[in-house]
Symmetry: C2
């Protein structure tokens, strides 16, 4: 039995693992606005997504059902690392000398080391069920690519990953990890697609970008009826799959009799945040608890706190459906901060809508404060966090110090969505004292916002 | 509750964590031979170890007590990752189409990613209790150095690590990991010691060796009364601390009602193997089970299968007490295989004695077979193993295929003592097809055996 007075980890047995994902759309007071077709600006229908995704995922993308069963073939793979542990950060609390209780849900126990496998596995599963034999995707630093490589290996599928050329050169180990699981990895731009060849003809040393890699992965997927494309964040079905994080955390906190006063999560595309927060938001909307729920974004890419809530494209080239979201403009090129997974011009439409409705708050934090918090965390708790969740940790540290200031025993909940074992170069920079905060001028944002289409 | 029919992971709650280490010396039919003073060749006494280790560890080194209590201050830190999970490798079993059940105890969940923290934490604890404020050590690839850096951070101690210069240059990320936890890391040979200065004067680009790094760490420790030295394997007290692995595994297997028919563990210095195997050997000696227990060593460094059972030095320079162990000669320089943690000329005296008594078996496996097994494992089970436990995995695969051949449902137990997140370059070499098996000639061994002293 868990002893609330002493427990450092609160575990669930496999038999306690949730068997349904939670779809927050069913409980929102106002429904989120639909995606629009990029040309007609009419609401996009299933047929617009069919060349890219299998029907089961398209149905989840537009579903208003409250709970969706997790298939047995997905649960079997989840069991390799789920349920994930919920930690009480007792040694960090002591270091900060705070009366607050700090809990963190740790997703770094997955094979690829982050929460991304929570959605890569069902995405591979549903594609496999519909006879698809290959998935394509893009990856930057490599977190998402490796999560998909692992997932496709579980169902005997092929996986082809276009990795941004600059990362492909700078981070060979993520590529190796994908190859261990059997994926083919190409530097993007590549000679394999028309678009790639065109860019390489102009510049043989093209560094690539996520937008370009998406275009290559998409063009390969639509060209073959047995191939589809997979996306690692932003979309509704991705956030749906991640809700198992929050569902488990609810069960785990119940074991120690605690309810969060404040929940903080880092936001890039929004899937880690949504995964942790949505089940707690359900409880809040039902009047069962009343936590402050807060998004934490990098100061260098502040889509919620400095962007506008507008219809914009998901990709740089403007090929995707238009989604209403908090955006800095699809032309926005974030500074090269270390948290590569948070460098996205927009925000998940679902998180954007919920933020617009005033159901969650948002703050931004500069990266040097994030790494300072991560070093404190690593020395106290042992785990070296990935650069992305250092934002969540820095926010939790702020909350713990505020509780100390107020002399209140607040319960803080956050998610440590991945370990930093493949990101140690970031820490090297921080420890060498050469990491800087990349200031973002309002002018730069105003300039990028010009790329957002004005709808009729 | 654990369901034996479906469980992938068998977990223990913190309240079920063992609170005692097991000392196999108490149960051996014949006591192991003592260490000898390097000069007098008389049995070494506590005073010979006192400049290096705190009294509590020296007492454990020579103890004949069956069980030794784990201090509360150690259990508190263990709880950050212990109890560690026991996995049933169902997906690997299916891939191999074997009737065997494969269980593996996973130690990669520790902050530094291997079993080494099981001993670095108590070593730091006991030193701290005796007023020591700094520990020194050597490290090659960095597994042990990072385990000690983590442990000293937990007790507010300083940590100074001499890392073999070649590794210091080739693997900067392990160094960064140690620095995150607050350790000072020096390339060895260094300008900080007399011995290091001497070697650098001869060759400014000296690549270093473990033997040299040990000499530097030891000389720094003996020069300061508040500083001691810490060793990560080989010695009795180190193996003692690792027995928590096997004690947990016994409890976990009991939950699913299984008893091992065969236990395989990789051996370098012997601490991972001893940690898993000794509690099971106790049960075997007591007639409660009858597993075959097998050491697995690299074909390029086969101290048990090709070395001799003789008194030899633990280090290359011949400064340590003489220990009776299976040795290839302290002058033996193993080939640069990828499993850096298994490149040791000797074997723990305790494992050597038990092997000599016929209580355990030993085999050696070449590294390409090990990596082939690791790739199968990673694709089926997700986790990417460190190069050292690929030997244990390859042996488990051999056993599973033998069980298939025999048509028998054998229960196989092994330990996955660490993840390979910081060893992906090894996999890159394997996947590129450029890894070779480094054959070892009998002549090379005979030559190195000449360095073993002939006792009067």
């Amino acid at each position: 039995m868990v002893n609330p007075e002493t427990a450092s980890k609160i575990l669930l047995d496999e038999s306690e693992m949730p068997t349904q994902w939670y779809n927050i759309v069913a409980d929102l007071p106002v429904p989120p606005p639909p995606a629009l077709h990029p040309m007609t600006h009419e609401p996009a229908g299933p047929e617009d997504f069919a060349p890219l995704f299998p029907m089961a995922l398209i149905e989840q993308e537009v579903s208003t059902k409250r709970y969706i069963d997790i298939p047995g073939g997905v649960l079997d793979v989840y069991k390799l690392w789920r349920p994930s542990p919920l930690y009480r950060a007792r040694r960090l609390e002591k270091l900060l000398d705070t009366p607050a209780k700090i809990y963190y849900k740790y997703e770094g126990v997955s094979p690829s080391g982050s929460h991304k496998t929570n959605t890569s596995v069902p995405q591979a599963y549903y594609n496999h069920q519909e006879g698809i034999t290959k998935l394509t995707t893009e990856t930057g630093a490599g977190q998402w690519g490796s999560a998909l490589a692992f997932a496709t290996a579980q169902y005997g599928m092929e996986c082809e990953v276009w990795q941004v050329a600059a990362s492909h050169r700078a981070k060979p180990y993520r590529r190796t990890m994908m190859e261990i699981w059997g994926a083919s990895v190409h530097a993007s731009p590549s000679e394999l697609t028309e678009f790639g060849r065109q860019l390489l003809a102009e510049n043989p040393d093209h560094p690539g970008s996520l937008g370009i890699a998406i275009s290559e992965a998409v063009s390969e997927a639509v060209a073959d009826p047995k191939t589809r494309y997979a996306l690692g964040s932003v979309l509704n079905h991705v956030l749906l799959h991640q809700t198992i994080i929050g569902e488990e955390a609810l069960l785990q906190l119940a074991k120690v009799g605690d309810v969060p006063d404040v929940l903080v999560g880092c936001t890039g595309g929004g899937s880690n945040f949504g995964g942790l927060a949505f089940p707690f938001l359900r409880e809040k909307l039902a009047g069962k608890m009343n936590p402050t729920i807060r998004c934490v974004e990098p100061a260098a890419c502040p889509s919620l706190t400095k962007g506008e809530y507008r219809y914009d494209f998901g990709d740089t080239a403007g090929l995707t459906p238009l989604m209403k979201m908090h955006t800095l403009g699809h032309d926005f090129v974030p500074e090269p901060i270390h948290a590569g997974g948070l460098r996205y011009h927009g925000m998940s439409p679902l998180v954007s809508h919920i933020y617009d409705q005033g159901l969650v708050e948002a703050i931004s934090i500069p990266q040097t404060e994030c790494f300072a918090g991560a070093i404190q965390f690593a020395r106290a708790e042992g785990i070296v966090p990935a650069p992305e969740p250092t934002h969540a940790i820095a926010a939790a540290v702020r909350e713990a110090l505020a509780a100390k200031e107020a002399g209140e025993e607040r319960v803080i909940l956050t998610a440590l969505c991945g370990h930093g074992h493949l990101d140690l170069a970031s820490y090297e920079t921080y420890l060498a004292g050469t990491m800087t905060d990349l200031d973002l001028s309002d002018d730069a944002i105003a300039e990028a916002m010009k790329s957002v289409p004005v709808l009729g």
